[in-house]
Subunit: 200 residues, 2 copies
Amino acid sequence: MTSRDPGTPRRRDAGRPRGASVVAAILTAVRAELAETGLEGLSVDRVARRAEVNKTSVYRRWPTKEALVAAAMDGLRTDFAASPDTGSLRGDLHALATPIADLLSRPEGTALARAAISSGAASDIASLAAHRMSEQVSPVFAIAERARDRGEWRDDADPHQVIFTLVGAILHRVLLEHADPTGPWLDSLVELVHRGAAAN
Amino acid sequence: MTSRDPGTPRRRDAGRPRGASVVAAILTAVRAELAETGLEGLSVDRVARRAEVNKTSVYRRWPTKEALVAAAMDGLRTDFAASPDTGSLRGDLHALATPIADLLSRPEGTALARAAISSGAASDIASLAAHRMSEQVSPVFAIAERARDRGEWRDDADPHQVIFTLVGAILHRVLLEHADPTGPWLDSLVELVHRGAAAN
DNA sequence: CCTCCATTGCAACTAGTTGTTGCAATAATA
DNA sequence: TATTATTGCAACAACTAGTTGCAATGGAGG
């Protein structure tokens, strides 16, 4: 019946550890539900049922629906910074655009992009998106620097504007035209943007 | 005490007419609320209170929240088809891009664009957006035809892709960068796209 | 093996939301 | 002025976000 000495600090890693499988199941369920119903139709209850987990276990990890979606987004991130030096501006642009288009062509990617755009600037989702964006930005703009070194880059072209135009065109294609942003269409877009950015 | 002859059809336009001011107040309130809270946070109750109208009067006109937002969107539409023949491709592109950027730079325009994108392809909002889009499309592509006639248009450039790239870049600027899409930035974008579409 | 103790499941709860319905008051128009 | 549709009002059902208290579970250290 002796109680634990209150002066002794509790062991930090005692007790039942958090099940990583629970987290994975929930985030997978979020992405699936998001693709089916969109951000507006997303219900935490349904997410929990799909993940075969109690609603309480969801709320214990993420305080709001927004935070939950932000976490799901974070899990799907892709490393665009890895785009290689292909030796030419055209090649670099293509190598950058391809994984972006691939991600956005998948239903989950489409749904997450929609969610990122639909939430206002102040939301968890938008600030996470902005943060991820800023992480990827500097390596991506190495493309412009390399092109400048090769004399391939037009002096008065703004690298931000060029890259964001490329991305914006892909987003328009996916989110408004509901069309596939890969294949010949993407090739043609890269040519268009390349002509806009290249010297001569 | 004589009751109305049941054989006589009721006068069609009898009774209290619908107040046009009620409609206007509601749609204005929707746009304001949408700009403040976004599509997700939009509450029909709050819209009604802001319009100083009973919630019931809203639901009697538009059966769902979606239809309500679609109506608000419809009321704000702008006629892009009116873009004039300026005599040059560069001028035409600029004349097209300017009203689009102006609309999207206003909070209401931003909010409505967000709403149009965030709702899935099956929604009222998205189908209205698609319909409005298709109305505007053919006059807009007169720009490409005129340029072709002048010998200014690049043979292998797809008019859809060029115009949608322009729009996509503006949307990216507004919805993801949260920046102003007008002024020098827009001028520079028009130059970029023009270089991509122009012959030579 | 066995005792901790954090994690999980469960059920009940508050509060806000969408959307509906019946009824009384109102206000144009013929 | 009588007609008749529109509006306001209040109550309603169903769903959702998010919270809380308690019992059951199960991994990790002893």
